[in-house]
């Protein structure tokens, strides 16, 4: 069946089977492989994209459920230069293997769009649906704190490795 939607600002149509998941439409039909498939059962959050501005897991949705929706993937987050969250992950070493990173960044960006001054606890609440098997959560939280500061127009805190003990 035909599904028409907007992906990263571009109108696209695709002929999909009813059983096609949104993540497979993005990766296989549209070649947007930045959105990862981890568990394909709703646990890990590697497949997180924004649907009409809100983070959702694209592995627990049929492609057809995105009919008419505005989808943003990790490829569409930057606008000429890195999004503040991408910059934060770069500057504060918010990744190790990188598998969870696109989903972590999309969740963080979704959370910061609603609250640009999250506490450490609120950041953890925002990424509770994303698993990092490298268990690199500490730096991920620091990366999101960096992004929040940038988005507010504040100077991000010094990286921990620059702070003398």
């Amino acid at each position: 069946m035909e599904v028409s939607l907007t992906v990263n600002g571009r109108n696209v149509s695709s002929d999909v089977e009813p059983r096609t998941l949104l993540v497979h439409l993005l990766r296989e039909d549209l070649d947007l492989t930045g959105t990862h498939v981890g568990c394909e059962s709703g646990y890990c959050g590697a497949c997180t994209v924004h649907l009409d501005g809100k983070p959702v897991k694209s592995c627990t949705m049929l492609a057809v459920q995105a009919e008419g929706a505005d989808i943003t993937t990790i490829e569409g987050l930057a606008n000429g230069e890195l999004h503040a969250v991408q910059e934060g992950f770069w500057e504060r070493h918010g990744l190790q293997c990188g598998y969870c990173t696109p989903g972590m960044i999309m969740s963080a960006a979704g959370m910061l769009a609603e609250n640009d001054s999250p506490s450490e606890g609120e950041i953890k609440h925002g990424i509770e649906g994303n698993l990092c098997r490298c268990t690199g959560y500490h730096n991920i939280v620091k990366a999101i704190e960096y992004a929040a500061a940038k988005m507010r127009g504040d100077e991000p805190a010094e990286p921990e490795w620059e702070v003398s003990s």
């Binding site: 059983r19 897991k57 925002g126 649906g129």
Partner: protein, 288 residues
């Protein structure tokens, strides 16, 4: 990859009711957010021949608060509940449950009717709704009926809903000023975890007497259930620490928890005892 199925996207409620009645020779299964159904289909726990998506009918989503009642459309998402100012004043235990529900991505997609219809004993929205005396509105081509949520579940993964019926609303009476509703979820971690023990309490007090007590327990029996004998120990009484402890102990006896990967039955009973007593104490303390 999911097993194949027919998919329909009706844009009217009548269209949905026709399809789930037998529209293509086989009753279609309603799909809302998909956070439970798609996962079950992926794991081959359920393999429907036909699926009908409800997302083309905007009237099915929304929160209506009138003078006397609160009504949730079936496709109201968990995030809608969490972000509702109106519910913060007339169903705060449900808002707490929404906050503890999944992660933000699941909250943005999962719906209240889906959380009821998936029949999970570990549902997070059902205990507070049951403690609020919520009713489920079921509609089919042959009419509609209203079932108390307390009577909706009949056994593990079993309920009173016929396959030709759709949940079209969840409603409850707005609570009087002198009442408190509370919810606590105990799980192995705070975020995005399946509940080990969920307790919801709803209490009304007048002139120092407990006029209404509701205790709903999640993840400790084949269905979410009310501890009705514990409730009746409290109604008409002036609560004391000893009475609260006794009612909490009674609640543990009305549950039938199992050992599983998340917790032992013994731990779950202890959780019921502690959390029921804690929430009853908090509710009584706020109302007296």
């Amino acid at each position: 990859m999911l097993s194949g199925f027919e998919l329909d996207l009706p844009d009217t409620l009548v269209g949905v009711l026709d399809l789930i009645a037998d529209g293509r020779g086989t009753p279609a299964v309603p799909l809302a957010g998909g956070t439970s159904l798609i996962v079950d289909m992926r794991a081959r726990r359920t393999m429907p021949n036909a699926v009908v998506w409800l997302g083309k009918i905007p009237e099915l989503r929304g929160i209506q608060v009138t003078q006397d009642h609160v009504r949730l459309g079936p496709c109201t998402t968990v995030s809608d509940i969490l972000n509702s100012d109106e519910l913060a004043g007339s169903g705060v235990s449900l808002v707490r449950a929404a906050e503890a529900f999944g992660g933000q991505m699941v909250r943005n997609a999962a719906t209240v009717a889906g959380n009821i219809a998936c029949n999970s004993p570990a549902s997070d929205l059902v205990p507070p709704l049951m403690a609020l005396d919520a009713e489920v509105i079921l509609e089919s081509r042959s009419g509609s009926r209203t079932v108390a949520l307390d009577r909706y579940f009949t056994g593990y993964k079993e309920d009173v809903r016929r396959t030709d019926e759709l949940i079209t609303g969840i409603s409850w009476k707005r609570q009087e000023e002198s009442s408190v509703d509370l919810f606590h979820k105990l799980a192995r971690r705070k975020g995005d975890a399946i509940t080990v023990v969920g307790v919801a309490v709803n209490m009304a007090v007048s002139d120092g007497t407990c006029m209404r007590a509701r205790i709903a327990l999640g993840a400790v029996a084949p269905t979410v259930l009310r501890a009705k004998r514990a409730e009746s120990m409290l109604e008409g009484e002036t609560l004391t620490p000893g009475l609260i402890e006794a009612a909490a102990r009674q609640a543990t006896e009305e549950a039938s928890p199992i050992d599983d990967v998340r917790a032992s039955a013994t731990y779950r009973r202890h959780g019921i005892q502690v959390l029921t007593a804690r929430l009853l104490t908090q509710a009584w303390g706020r109302l007296t």
